[in-house]
C-alpha cells in the first residue's frame, strides 16, 4: 500500500465527570464546565498517527463545533496530525447524529481521495456511538466498529474488533471507516513545539462553513435533524433503602436472608 490518506473525526465535549445539574430546573449547568477532547478520539488520533508513521501519508483531523472547538484541533496538531478542518457555522447548530454525519461526510468528500476514516467509538456527552456508522453509510464504505488493532494488509484492512465473547479478526476493503475504543492504544503525549506551532497564525487549521463543503442547509443543523428533545429530567431514585447494622457476621446473614426473600439468589 502506498501512502495513506487518513481522516480523523474528533469532538470537543464537556467533561462529563464534572456535570452539575440545577436541582430546581433539572437542566444542565454549563457555566465553568471544562471542555476536553472526547477521550475515545485521542485513541483515534493515535491509531491514525501509527498507521501514517508506518506507511507514510497524511492525517487530517476534522471537528464540527463552535469556534472554540479549535482547541481540540490544536491538541491534535500537538500530537502530530498534519492538518485540520474546523467545521463551524450557525447553520450547523442543533444537529442530531443524522445531520452531524451528513456534515462530516460532506467534508470528507470535499477533501477528495481517502483511504481511512477513523473516529472514537463514542462521545461521552451523547454516548450514542452512531456517528461512525452513519458517516460510513453516508460515504458508502464498510465499517469496523470497536476496533482494537489495525493493520494495512495488501490493499485492504485487517482489524481486530471486540465482540461480545472475545475479539474477531475482520478483513475489509479500503476505503473504510473504523471506530476505536480505549483498548486500541496508548495515546502519545503532546509534543510541546508542535503544540506551540498550533497556536501560530499560520497553523494548518482551515475553518469551513456550509458553503465550503457544499452542504445543503436542509441537511445540516436543526433543519437536518429529525429528532427533537421533548423534555429532560433528572433520574429519580425513589427506592427505599434498608441499612443493615450490627457485627459483620450478623449483617452478612441478614443480607443473605433479604436476598432470598427477594428471590434474587
Amino acid at each position: 500500500m502506498d501512502k495513506l490518506d487518513i481522516k480523523v473525526l474528533i469532538k470537543q465535549v464537556p467533561n462529563t465527570s464534572e456535570v452539575k445539574i440545577d436541582p430546581h430546573t433539572g437542566t444542565l449547568m454549563r457555566e465553568g464546565m471544562e471542555s476536553i477532547i472526547n477521550p475515545d478520539d485521542l485513541h483515534a488520533i493515535e491509531a491514525a498517527l501509527q498507521l501514517r508513521d508506518t506507511h507514510g501519508g497524511k492525517v487530517t483531523a476534522i471537528s464540527m463545533g463552535p469556534p472554540q472547538a479549535k482547541d481540540v484541533l490544536r491538541e491534535a496538531l500537538g500530537m502530530g496530525v498534519d492538518e485540520c478542518i474546523l467545521l463551524t457555522d450557525r447553520a450547523f447548530a442543533g444537529a442530531d447524529t443524522l445531520a452531524t454525519s451528513y456534515t462530516l461526510g460532506k467534508c470528507v468528500l470535499r477533501l477528495g481521495r481517502f483511504d481511512l476514516v477513523i473516529a472514537g467509538h463514542q462521545a461521552i456527552d451523547g454516548d450514542t456511538a452512531q456517528i461512525g456508522p452513519q458517516v460510513a453509510e453516508f460515504l458508502g464504505i464498510p465499517q469496523v466498529i470497536r476496533a482494537i488493532r489495525l493493520e494495512i494488509r495488501g490493499d485492504g484492512l485487517l482489524a481486530e474488533r471486540t465482540a461480545e465473547e472475545g475479539t474477531e479478526i475482520v478483513k475489509s476493503t479500503l476505503p473504510a471507516l473504523v471506530t476505536v475504543t480505549k483498548e486500541a492504544n496508548d495515546p502519545r503525549y503532546l509534543f510541546v513545539p508542535l503544540l506551540m506551532a498550533a497556536f501560530e497564525e499560520d497553523a494548518p487549521i482551515r475553518v469551513w462553513g456550509g458553503n465550503d463543503i457544499g452542504a445543503d442547509e436542509a441537511g445540516t443543523g436543526l433543519k437536518g435533524s429529525p429528532t427533537r428533545v421533548r423534555r429532560t429530567f433528572t433520574p429519580s431514585h425513589n427506592k427505599k433503602i434498608e441499612r443493615l447494622n450490627g457485627m459483620p457476621a450478623d449483617m452478612a446473614r441478614t443480607l443473605v436472608e433479604r436476598l432470598r426473600e427477594r428471590k434474587v439468589i
Binding site: T27, R90, D125, I131, R230, P235
Partner: protein
C-alpha cells in the same frame, strides 16, 4: 437557523424554562427571553403551549399517516434468538396496542424460519422472514440492505433494535440510508396519547439527565433499546402469526467486510449484559487478590465479576468486565457493589439493576443513594462472612 419568542403571544407561563436542555431561556418582564447560549435545538418550540416560540426550521412533515405497525428486528446468536429480542417483543406489543396497530417481528438470517413460531408466541402478529446465506451474524452490511429494503416496501411506523453491539452497528446505517432519526440506547419507550409519537427516553450526559426524544415528522421512528430493561411477555403457546417471506437482494458491495476468525481465548467468556447476578468491585477492592475474594463470592452466586474503570485501569480486571459509562451497561437482578463509591460514570451503567447492594466504608458514598440494601462496613470484613453464610444451606442460619 434561529429560535425566537414572539412577544405578543408569550403569556409568561415559563414552560419553556424547564424544557430547555441547556438553560438558555430566562424571564424578563414576564416574557421568555432566549439567551446567547441557545443552540437552536428547538425543544422549546415544541413545548410552548401557546405557539409563541418560533423557528425558521423548514417544515419537514411528510405523509406520516401511511406508516403503520411496530417492528422488532430480531437478533440471533449462533442461530438462536437472543433474550433481548424477547424483551423488545414485550415492549413492542405494548406500543402496537397503544397505536392500535400490528406488532411485526423481523427475522433475518441464514436459516431462521424455525423461530417464526416462537416470535408468534412472543406476541407477533406478523413475522417478516428474510433468509439468505449472505446474512451472517456480526456482518452489518447485508442486514442493512435487507432491513432497509423491507422498511421501504412495508413502511412501518416504529422500528426497534436491541442496543447490543450488533444492533448499535446496524441501526445507525439503516437510519442514515433511510434519512430518519434514531435514538440510541433507550431505557423507556411509550406512545404519546395525543400525537401518537414514539416517546424515546434515554440517559444523557453520562446518566446525569434523562432525555425524552421524539421524531415527530419522519417515519419510521427508530430506537435501539438497552438490553435487560424491558420485560418479555410470557410465551402464549399456540399463538399464531402470519408469516410473510420477503426477498433479500444482497449486493457485492455489501460483502466488502468479512470475519476471518473469532478469537475467544483473549477473554474468558463473559456476558455481563445478560448476567442475572453481578459482583462488582471498585477502588476499595485494592488489588487483584481482592478481586479473588469477589470471584469466590461470585462463584457461590453463579454471578459474573465486574468492576469500575479504576479497577480495569489498575489491571485488576480485564476491560470487558468494566461497568459504567465507558464500559458496559448492565441491569441484572442483583448487583453487589463492593468498595465502589458510585460516581456517576459507574452508576450510569448499573443503576437499572433490580436490587442493588452497596458495601462501602464511607457512609457518604453516592452509591448508597441508589442502593436497596446498604452496608457501611469494610468489604473485607463483610464478603468473607457473606461467603460463610452462603455456604450454609438455607434454613441453617
Amino acid at each position: 437557523m434561529a429560535v425566537w419568542v414572539k412577544k405578543s403571544e408569550c403569556v409568561g407561563c415559563e414552560t419553556c424554562l424547564d424544557v430547555c436542555p441547556i438553560g438558555a431561556i430566562s424571564m424578563s418582564e414576564g416574557i421568555a427571553v432566549i439567551g446567547d447560549k441557545c443552540n437552536s435545538c428547538g425543544a422549546c418550540v415544541e413545548s410552548c403551549p401557546h405557539g409563541a416560540i418560533k423557528s425558521d426550521a423548514s417544515d419537514r412533515k411528510a405523509d406520516i399517516s401511511a406508516f403503520k405497525d411496530v417492528w422488532v428486528v430480531a437478533e440471533t446468536r449462533q442461530g438462536n434468538i437472543r433474550s433481548c429480542t424477547s424483551e423488545l417483543m414485550g415492549c413492542g406489543r405494548g406500543l402496537a396496542d397503544a397505536l392500535g396497530q400490528r406488532l411485526c417481528a423481523v427475522l433475518a438470517g441464514k436459516e431462521v424460519s424455525s423461530h417464526a413460531g416462537a416470535m408468534a408466541e412472543n406476541g407477533a402478529d406478523i413475522v417478516y422472514l428474510m433468509e439468505d446465506k449472505g446474512l451472517e451474524e456480526g456482518l452489518a452490511l447485508p442486514y442493512v440492505r435487507a432491513i432497509t429494503d423491507a422498511v421501504l416496501e412495508k413502511r412501518p411506523a416504529v422500528v426497534l433494535f436491541a442496543a447490543t453491539p450488533f444492533g448499535r452497528e446496524l441501526a445507525p446505517r439503516v437510519s442514515r440510508r433511510l434519512g430518519v432519526g434514531l435514538t440510541a440506547d433507550c431505557t423507556g419507550l411509550d406512545i404519546d396519547p395525543e400525537t401518537k409519537n414514539l416517546l424515546q427516553t434515554r440517559p444523557a450526559w453520562g446518566g446525569n439527565l434523562m432525555a425524552t426524544i421524539i421524531s415527530p415528522d419522519t417515519r419510521p421512528q427508530m430506537s435501539t433499546v438497552r438490553p435487560g430493561v424491558m420485560k418479555a411477555l410470557p410465551a402464549e403457546p399456540g399463538r399464531k402469526a402470519e408469516v410473510v417471506q420477503l426477498k433479500v437482494n444482497i449486493k457485492p458491495e455489501d460483502q466488502r467486510l468479512n470475519i476471518q476468525e473469532l478469537k475467544k481465548e483473549l477473554y474468558k467468556h463473559v456476558n455481563l449484559t445478560e448476567a442475572r447476578v453481578i459482583v462488582s468491585g471498585g477502588h476499595g477492592v485494592e488489588s487483584k487478590d481482592g478481586f479473588g475474594l469477589l470471584e469466590e463470592l461470585a462463584g457461590l452466586l453463579g454471578a459474573e465479576v465486574a468492576g469500575t474503570r479504576i479497577a480495569v485501569e489498575e489491571g485488576w480486571l480485564t476491560p470487558d468486565r468494566q461497568v459504567g459509562q465507558t464500559g458496559k451497561s448492565v441491569c441484572p437482578e442483583l448487583y453487589i457493589a463492593c468498595g465502589i463509591s458510585g460516581a456517576i460514570q459507574h452508576s450510569a451503567g448499573m443503576m437499572g439493576s433490580k436490587t442493588i447492594v452497596a458495601i462501602n466504608t464511607d457512609p457518604a458514598a453516592p452509591i448508597f443513594a441508589i442502593a436497596d440494601i446498604a452496608i457501611v462496613e469494610d468489604l473485607f470484613k463483610i464478603v468473607p462472612e457473606l461467603i460463610t453464610a452462603l455456604k450454609m444451606k438455607e434454613g441453617e442460619n
